[in-house]
Point group: C2
Chain length 284, copies 2
Amino acid sequence: MATTRTSLREQLRAPAGPVSLADIDPRGTPDAPGDKDATKAQMTADGAELASLQERLYAEGVSGGPRRVLLVLQGMDTSGKGGVIEHVVGAVNPQGVSITSFKKPTPEELRHGFLWRVRRAVPGPGLLGVFDRSHYEDVLIGRVRELATPAVVERRYKEIVRFEDQLTESGVTIVKCMLHISRWEQKQRLLARLDDSTKRWKFNPGDIDERALWDDYQRAYETSIERTSTQTNPWHVVPADRKWYRNWAVGRLLLEAVTDLAPRFPQADYDVAAQRDRLIDEAD
Amino acid sequence: MATTRTSLREQLRAPAGPVSLADIDPRGTPDAPGDKDATKAQMTADGAELASLQERLYAEGVSGGPRRVLLVLQGMDTSGKGGVIEHVVGAVNPQGVSITSFKKPTPEELRHGFLWRVRRAVPGPGLLGVFDRSHYEDVLIGRVRELATPAVVERRYKEIVRFEDQLTESGVTIVKCMLHISRWEQKQRLLARLDDSTKRWKFNPGDIDERALWDDYQRAYETSIERTSTQTNPWHVVPADRKWYRNWAVGRLLLEAVTDLAPRFPQADYDVAAQRDRLIDEAD
C-alpha cells in the first residue's frame, strides 16, 4: 500500500490546453493503492492523517494564521459530491469544517454579481471548506441553459481565475475536483434512487431533463476546465464510476494539499511555566 | 446494555425551582449503560442510530419539512464542548450539521440586541445545529463580569424563554446541556493543556482569571438554569468529569430527542413508475 505522497495530483491533473473528457475513463482507478478493500483501508488511514493535519491547521487559525483549504466539488447529478462529503470530509472534526451547498441562486443573490455569494462562503482561517457545487455552476448550467450570453460566460472564466488567485494570495489552498462519471453509470444510480424508498427524496424529475443535455454539459465542463485550470489552481478530473476509488482519490488529493502546508501546532505566546505556577499555587 | 430509550433526559433534567449544582456530582454516571468500555461501545451504536435518524430528518427538510434540532452546549472552560462536537456530532453526516461557536461579540454584533447573532445562526430545516456557547453567555459572563446590569440580565432571561418558545413553534427541538465539571477536574485539564505542546494553543492565561470567579459562575449558571428551564425547553445538567460518560450522555439526549421526532423518508411527490420508464426508454 506504499504510494508516493505527491503522485495523485500529478496523475489526475487536467492537461494543459484542450480537455477531452471522453478520453478519461470514468471507471479508471489511476494510482489506486489496490483493489476495493485495500483502497478503502487506505482511505481510512488517510482520513485519520487528514484529521490530524487539519487539527494543526485549525490550531494555526485560532492563533492568527491565515491558511485554510477549500475543496471545490463539481460533477453531474449522482457523481457523488454528497458521498465525498459524508465519507471523506466526515473523517475530520466537524468544528474544523465549513460546507456550503450552492443551489439555484435566490432573488437576492441574483441582484449581485455571481461571485457575491461565493465570497461570503469562503472558509475562515484554519478551516477545511467544501463547496458542493460552486461558482462553476455559473459557467456550466449558465452556458448550457443559456442563462448568460457566451460573452458573459467568457468574461466569467477570467473573473474566476482572478478570484481564485486572490484567494490563494490570502492563504486559501484550493483543491478543484470534477467527479467524472459515465452517462451509463448515472442511469444506474438514478434508477437505484427510484427503486429504493429511502432514496427517492434524492431524485428530481428535472434530473432526467438535465441528463438529456449530457453532451452539452460535457462540453461545458471541458471548456470551463480548459479556461480555469491554472498552474496555481489546477482542476483534477476524478474518475467517479467506482465510489471507493472516488472517495479515496478526493481524500488523497486533500491530504496531499494539507501535507504540503505542513501545518504545525503553534508555540505558546505566554510563559508556560509561569501559568503552570499560577495554577499549582492556587488556594483551593 | 439495555437501557430504556426515554430515561436519560428525565434523569438529567434540571429540577423545577432552585438549582444547586453542588448537589450534582460531576463524576456521576447516572443511567450509564455500563463501565467505560461498555459505555463507549453503546455510544458508537447510538451514534450510528443518530446518523440514520438525522438522514431522515435531512430528507424531510429537503422536501419542505420545517423540523430541526438545536443542541445548545454550555459549560466552564475545558468542560468538553469541543469534545462533544468531535465525538458525538462527528458521527453524523457533516452535510446535515451546522455548528456555530459564539465568541466575544464583535463591534457589529454589539450594535444589535444580544439575540441578533443567535437568530442568524439558527439551523435550517432538516439540520442538526450546534451552539458551542450561545445566548446564555449574555446572562453568564454578562452577569459575572457585570457587562450588563442585574435588571438587564433579568429581562434577558425572559427574552430567552420567549425566543426559545418561538423556535420550538417554528419546528426547532432544542436540547440544552450544561456540561458540569468540578473545579478540581478543570485544574487537571488546564495543567494537561500546559504540559502537552500539541494542546497549548487551547490554553489562554485568561482561563485562569475566569477560573478565579468559579463560584460566581456556578451561581450564574444556577440562576440561568432556574429562570430558563421550562417544560418545553428544559436544561440538562450533564456530569462531565468523565469524558466517556459526558459524550455518551449528550449523544443519548440527542438520540432521544430525534427518536421522538420519528422522522421518515418522504414519499415521492412524482410518479415513480413514470420516471423509471423515462429512464429505461431513453435512446442511448
